[in-house]
Amino acid sequence: MTLTKADLVQHIYKIHDNDMTKAQATEAVEALLKIVKDCLIEGEDLLISGFGKFNVKNKKARRGRNPQTGQELILDARRVVTFKPSGILRDKINGK
């Protein structure tokens, strides 16, 4: 089963059922996502210990090809987000 935003809200609501409304749980998830996104949009890396690191990397312009037509084209310089999982997350995924 794929985990979605609604599932995250549900998880929080389950734990905080006596001190938070569903609307507050939703608001908290939205707020957290906005902080994470704003951080990356600013070009700042985000290090979440025990989970992983989101990096913002500057890529230089390069010559590429349209794989469908084979036509050469110039890919502009870009800024991209990459994710490097922490050792702890890797181990958990591998059942260690």
Binding site: M1, T2, L3, T4, K5, D7, L8, H11, I12, I15, H16, D19, E27, A28, V29, A31, L32, L33, K34, I35, V36, K37, C39, L40, I41, E42, G43, E44, D45, L46, L47, I48, S49, G50, F51, G52, F54, V56, N58, A77, R78, R79, V80, V81, T82, F83, P85, L89, R90, K92, I93, N94, G95
Partner: protein, 93 residues
């Protein structure tokens, strides 16, 4: 930004006590970790998705010594940034 700064910012933005913001952040990270650990994927609109890719065992080499080694099968999580975030990060350059 690191995890404690993230929690601190969440507490400020939501007017929740630090302890609550900490618990919320950890609940989310735990749910995400458990999902990936059971081989399932994560899809968060406007942010991105995580999938676990499985790799078979293969014959590798120790790049320092050149010695042949058998790399055991493994699983790795991959993050694909969502369209909206990808475009906004690129615009910010």
């Amino acid at each position: 930004m690191n995890k404690s700064e993230l929690i601190e910012t969440l507490a400020q933005e939501t007017n929740l006590p630090f302890r609550e913001a900490d618990s919320i952040t950890n609940t989310i990270l735990e749910a995400m970790t458990n999902t990936l650990a059971s081989g399932d994927s994560i899809e968060i609109r406007g942010f991105g998705s995580f999938v676990v890719k499985e790799y078979d065992s293969y014959q590798g080499r120790n790049p320092k010594t050149g010695q042949k080694i058998k790399v055991p099968p493994k699983k790795l999580p991959f993050f694909k940034v969502g369209k909206e975030l990808r475009e906004r990060v690129d615009k910010g350059k």
